[in-house]
Subunit: 309 residues, 2 copies
Amino acid sequence: MTNFADRLVSAIRRCKTPTLVGIDPRLNSLPHCLQPDSNNPSPEEVASAYLTFGKGIIDVVASLVPAVKPQAAFFEQLGPCGMQALGEITQYARTQGLLVIMDGKRNDIGSTATAYAHGFLGPDGSTQFTSDCLTVSPYLGEDSLEPFVDVAHANGNGLFVLVKTSNPGGGRFQDLIADGLPVYRHVAALVNDLASKTRGSEHHPYGSVGAVVGATYPEQLEELRAAMPNTLFLVPGFGAQGGGASDVAGGFDESGLGAIINSSRGIIFAHSREPYADKFGDARWQDAVDSATRDMIAALATDTPAGNL
Amino acid sequence: MTNFADRLVSAIRRCKTPTLVGIDPRLNSLPHCLQPDSNNPSPEEVASAYLTFGKGIIDVVASLVPAVKPQAAFFEQLGPCGMQALGEITQYARTQGLLVIMDGKRNDIGSTATAYAHGFLGPDGSTQFTSDCLTVSPYLGEDSLEPFVDVAHANGNGLFVLVKTSNPGGGRFQDLIADGLPVYRHVAALVNDLASKTRGSEHHPYGSVGAVVGATYPEQLEELRAAMPNTLFLVPGFGAQGGGASDVAGGFDESGLGAIINSSRGIIFAHSREPYADKFGDARWQDAVDSATRDMIAALATDTPAGNL
């Protein structure tokens, strides 16, 4: 069973980029050619459009990037038929050689946490939701994370734990100072401890438990990179959420490892954004996805240590 | 659109009990008569057994208690077919007159939080997951809760936000002291503010945003009852997790309102617990559920202010 961190590092090195493509379908943002015909589509019709869209993204990015990150919320919004589409997209991505980081932000305690872990992080093929990695929330403490770590690690899978988020209200609890450190640093210490216990090969310092770090200020990424030497970062917010390549540079180590950088809307809805909208338009939406992905890869290679990969 | 708090208070008064029955199916704990025939059942076979079991519980408790709480994890564990069963159980419970508090502990930010909210808290019939209330996690801050509050309140639905949990590691972050108060009290202050903004009628002080409070010590329930005068509590851990009726008394106000008390395993698997196992056994598992539910109702009426309902 190959360690998740090893698999991710290997895929990053093979693709020579830490670009992560978020699959966050929204009905009104889909290319017109994929919109359901009816004005008031059923959940089943929307789920079918999301499945086509998701597979179309995967077909474009599978040869370019190491991993995709489906956002469970946009599928769960549709009810069970949406979850069916999520499962099909997840398995399709894996058959195309992509790692799947399921963005579910799940959490619970004890045997309930174990149930979530079996749903998303069990052996290959155990459910349609089986992914390579899952995002989880830390509020319930270490015994809410350990069941996820146990199941993930036993099956060569991984986790990204929410540590520091960049939404305007993210500091409300994360930045409270306790014992001289903000709460997010207390979470960071636990996560790095779990990371150090799930290390893979000797060829890099990282473990299979990572951290979601959406730093509000670029310096916070540097601070956490130093404080969490064994922890891979999942950094959201590139592109549509306002961050550029230079803003995320602090998340990397000198070799260009240590972080994966997510873009969702900036890539998957490139057909409606300049310069891609003018060049490709709606009908060539997959060419827009291809072009936006290559531009992000180039920007990260130019403006961050990912250029050393 | 009737306010969720009003609907819950009305149901509690009608049933004269704040008993909440958790629907947490586990394959190995099901009555033998509901176990799938095969030794290595498929997810679809397990989901079918969970659906039969869940409906069977609902048939027993619909006339006794105000609400049920399906635990999403045990259904998501099975993949999409489990989520289909969860949706069917949710809608069946509502047709039988029960309020449904979906235990999903979901959370995210911005439009992603709104997507989850539309999945679980939209208008009646918008998805099979549509419930009366959803549990959510607070780590991402107020702008991760507000989208849930907006959608829930607009549709007469509610939330329970994790505030204080009783698992052994729950204090790791929740009990950190910042500005002279534990982190959970900072969360409690925000939740009570949201509760006061979602109040219903003048006949009780409670709003549609509640708190999950699994107090480690009975005094913590009293402390939070005093600190959160507008907040309904969802108190887990009765029965199988070790808490008795007197341990949860501090969660109530003098009139017997203010808290709903959950029991999952203690009720739904009563067929394998004494004194019910001996009296009813496996074949009469629904009689065991009925008896265990009535015993919990009686214990809460005797040992807590719920006797004043």
